[in-house]
């Protein structure tokens, strides 16, 4: 019966929360439905949304990654350094993107190493790297910003393609890829198996350690992508507050999306909805001009409500 709940959980229920929220928002502000506002939201959610995609796999496999926020700052920072070192031309931009992704993957891989080879509890391992990655970033930037000298770089982070922000495109495409990965490939099945019952997974000839490792590495990849989008958007990376609290937003998106923290099952598209829910909450609160101090209250209530709705629907 436990399984039962978490199953409904990850089916249609997150949608209910989203729809309710959209209705509320459309009343809260007449600007909500303006095309531009909706596009803004899609872009605003893409940064944590992309990370949440990787986080979904990690959580389904029974893990957690608290280090993503710090890793965003690190990957973005190094990317900007590379960009400036290479002169900021088109090739430099391409290189910067590559570098960000590589740093992200390496950072994720290190988390994976600690959890698999080192057998450190994921919460602790990534709590540690959260502190480590941030510290490295601060050290490199001496507490300041990584500033890009390229005029080309911002153009793609801020740019549109077919009227739609590039960040949004990336988010959607990655979401589709991860959905396929999770639901239509053996690897995806193995991720669920590992999260649901490690022993059984081992008996079924699944390389548990490899699967776990990959979930962290993939999360690192999403972090890298998110980092470069963010960096090029602002054309700079603040070592102090780039990516701060991203881990909480990403995890919240995953769980609101119906993936249970206990692992074993979840859905990528649910996570996308979860990210949308959070984005709309933020947008609505700003639009409605609610007392800034009370925004946290509303946000907290809505997050809880969103999950409550899921159970009621059950």
């Amino acid at each position: 019966m436990v399984s039962k709940r978490s199953i409904n959980y990850s089916t249609w229920t997150p949608l209910a929360a989203l729809i309710i929220l959209i209705i509320i928002s459309s009343f809260a502000s007449e600007y909500f439905f303006s095309a531009r506002n909706l596009l803004n939201i899609t872009r605003q959610i893409s940064y944590t949304g992309i990370i949440a995609l990787g986080m979904t796999l990690v959580i389904i496999a029974g893990g957690i990654d608290l280090s993503v926020g710090s890793l965003v700052a690190l990957a973005g920072g190094v990317a900007v350094l590379a960009l400036n070192a290479l002169g900021g031309g088109p090739l430099a931009v391409a290189a910067a993107i590559l570098v960000a992704v590589i740093v992200g993957v390496l950072g994720g891989a290190f988390n994976g190493m600690l959890v698999t080879a080192g057998r450190v509890a994921p919460f602790i391992a990534t709590l540690g790297t959260m502190s480590i990655y941030r510290s490295l970033t601060l050290y490199m930037a001496n507490g300041g910003e990584f500033r890009s000298q390229s005029d080309l770089f911002p153009s793609f982070g801020a740019g549109l393609f077919l009227e739609i922000p590039i960040a949004t495109w990336v988010f959607v495409i990655l979401a589709v890829i991860f959905q396929i990965l999770l639901s239509y490939t053996p690897f995806g099945r193995h991720v669920c198996a590992v999260g649901a019952n490690e022993v059984v997974a081992r008996y079924s000839a699944i390389r548990i350690q490899f699967v776990k490792f990959m979930t962290y590495a993939l999360t690192g990849l999403t972090v890298g992508v998110s980092a470069v989008l963010l960096a090029s958007r602002l054309n700079a990376v603040s070592s102090t507050n780039a990516g701060v609290y991203y881990e909480l937003d990403a995890i919240a998106a995953v769980v609101i999306g119906g993936t249970s923290m206990s692992g074993g099952m979840g859905a990528i598209w649910g996570t996308v909805i979860g990210a949308a829910v959070l984005g709309i909450i933020n947008n609505m609160l700003n639009m409605a001009g609610i007392s800034t101090y009370l925004q946290g209250l509303v946000k907290g209530l809505i997050i809880i409500a969103a999950v409550l709705v899921q159970y009621k629907r059950k």
Binding site: S29, Y31, S34, R36, N37, N40, Q44, L138, A141, N142, G143, G144, E145, R147, P154, A158, L230, R233, L234, N235, A236, S238, S239, T240, N241, A242, N282, N283, N286, M287, G289, T292, Y293
Partner: protein, 335 residues
């Protein structure tokens, strides 16, 4: 403290001139050969770099420490940065254990740090407080920027530029006393100009990205905005980004705050959107370190006729414009 300053004056006067010169012209530091001085240990406790400006504080503190170390090997510094009042209290407790002679502190919060700094003072340690005053006048020297001033100057400049007519939006900082002081002073000024309406005022947490998101929303909500007050230059960067992307051209000008080098540079380069800035220099931290050293050594400021270092130094919130921008440009600073 009397005894302290006595000891100081006797030993100090000789080294006085260089000491005073040092922070003003760090270049001179290397030249001067260290004169024999009794060793002193100075503890520095500041907030960790949780946004651009505090990043600047850390940068300037370390710079001053480096300069003084190069100049006088007998001065030992212990620097601790804290991410919350509680951990700053711990830091200061740890500093006391290490028998410091002087403490330079930028309190996370005024009231929260008062008790522990009082303990420090009672232990006969020389105390220099930066920026956020304690709730009791405990310190030997207090150096700070002028928060209400920043709000006031900003308000007056915007009002003048708008000719008393127009709609403005405000992006505040992290909700703290500092932010409140600035915003209240600003609002007070604007209130005197009935022609000017503040459409909206939300906290951007002194973060570029938050500034970007909030400005995006402002641009959604308000078809006509005449001017923007961002209060902090990091936030202003995000604001400008959002404005560029929106492709709008109705906003006449933007005003940031605290005088980060990027924004100052833009003013120097004559960017039409940004014609001014208001200072709140993180370099005050470096000055504070120097004041601690000089206070310990019982020196007085060069050209000052007072025997003691002034106990209160308020750095005015100055208006930076194209004409004087170069004087405020710090190319090496992180902020």
């Amino acid at each position: 403290t009397a005894t302290l300053s006595q000891a100081g004056t006797s030993a100090g006067t000789s080294a006085g001139s260089e000491a005073a010169a040092a922070p003003a012209a760090p270049a001179a530091a290397e030249a001067a050969a260290p004169v024999s001085t009794e060793p002193i240990k100075i503890g520095v406790s500041i907030p960790s770099a949780d946004h651009g400006w505090t990043g600047g504080i850390v940068y300037w503190t370390e710079k001053a420490i480096a300069d003084w170390k190069a100049k006088d090997p007998n001065i030992e510094f212990v620097l601790a940065t804290a991410d919350s009042p509680a951990s700053q209290v711990s830091d200061i407790e740890d500093l006391m254990v290490q028998n410091i002679d002087a403490l330079v502190v930028l309190p996370h919060d005024s009231a929260s740090l008062t008790p522990v700094v009082e303990e420090v003072k009672n232990a006969g340690i020389y105390v220099v407080v930066i920026d956020r005053g304690l709730t009791k006048p405990i310190e030997d020297v207090y150096i700070a920027g002028d928060n209400p001033g920043l709000g006031k100057v900003s308000g007056e400049w915007i009002a003048e530029q708008l000719g008393g007519q127009g709609d403005i939006v405000v992006l505040e900082g992290i909700p703290t006393v500092i932010n409140t002081e600035r915003v209240e002073a600003f609002n007070a000024v604007i209130a005197q100009h009935p022609g000017i309406t503040i459409l909206d005022s939300q906290p951007a947490m002194w973060s570029t990205q938050k500034g970007l998101e909030i400005m995006e929303n402002y641009l959604q909500k308000y078809d006509k905005i005449d001017a923007v007050w961002a209060q902090d230059d990091d936030v202003l960067k995000g604001v400008l980004q959002a404005y560029e992307e929106s492709g709008r051209d109705d906003i006449k000008f933007f005003l940031g705050g605290a005088g980060s080098k990027d924004i100052i540079k833009m003013i120097m380069d004559g960017d039409p959107r940004i014609q001014a800035d208001v200072t709140y220099p993180p370099s005050m931290a470096a000055t504070a370190v120097s004041l601690a050293v000089m206070g310990m050594r019982g020196e007085h400021l060069d050209g000052f006729y007072q025997q003691q270092i002034p106990t209160r130094i308020i750095l005015a919130a100055e208006l930076v414009t194209k004409d004087n921008a170069d004087k405020y440009y710090e190319p090496d600073s992180v902020y």
